[in-house]
Subunit: 111 residues, 2 copies
DNA sequence: CCCGGTACCTTGCACTGCAAGGTAGCTTGC
DNA sequence: GCAAGCTACCTTGCAGTGCAAGGTACCGGG
């Protein structure tokens, strides 16, 4: 057993929340998403993102439009749908609940 | 796709951290662990905990001793080993880093 | 002596994230 | 005008967690 692996596991499921949060601000395509996440210290590969974006889009939480690039192949710009915004609100609320729970345990105030 | 499922996934990997944190305070056996987690709004079943405790113990992060109960079968009381304490410190640090990252994304201060 | 409660454990499934590999459009250099 | 390289999209197989369901064994009470 390795702390590194446990830490990787600890980030599981957080990723979806981060992506939906970022898309709430802007229309973004995949490589840009990866950059934004990286600058917040969350390293992800595109092999992780493409299936996730497709999944969210099939669930009608995301929509996309094609935009041609000035240099290279066209890009898929994603944004939130209305259900996607509601979904984000639920995740955000769950995030706050969860961090509060963990903090109470972490600080040992919990009896 | 369902928000409920995403929220479940979001808690993945957090559990190990919570258990190690709780064990840092006290010697605890499984049913008591479940109660403590439940009172912090983290619902877990014993089918989840037993494999995890065994895994952590095999990795020498936990140790246990048997204690006979006044009513019922004997209990395994777990506690942290020295490597377990070091492990907890690493997880705690990773937890702080991760929450800071997510907060920066969540609040949209991130550019 | 059996029945319910408690405590331990295992198995099979669903799901995410990652590494590795694959396709195709566009530009640059020869 | 075409080969090489970059960019962008996507798929497949694996590792690992958490859960539901089911199983074993000890103990006390009626």
């Amino acid at each position: 057993m390795d702390a590194k692996n446990s830490i990787t596991q600890m980030r599981r499921g957080i990723l979806e929340f981060c992506i939906v949060s970022l898309l709430a601000e802007d229309e973004i395509y995949t490589a840009e998403l990866i950059d934004r996440l990286k600058s917040a210290n969350l390293i992800v590969t595109d092999g992780t993102l493409y299936p996730m974006l497709n999944r969210l889009q099939k669930a009608k939480l995301l929509q996309y439009r094609w935009e041609e690039s000035e240099s290279g192949p066209p890009r898929k710009y994603y944004s939130l749908t209305d259900p996607g915004i509601a979904f984000l609100e639920q995740l955000d609320s769950a995030w706050q609940d969860m961090t509060a729970s963990v903090e109470s345990i972490r600080k040992g105030t919990q009896k």
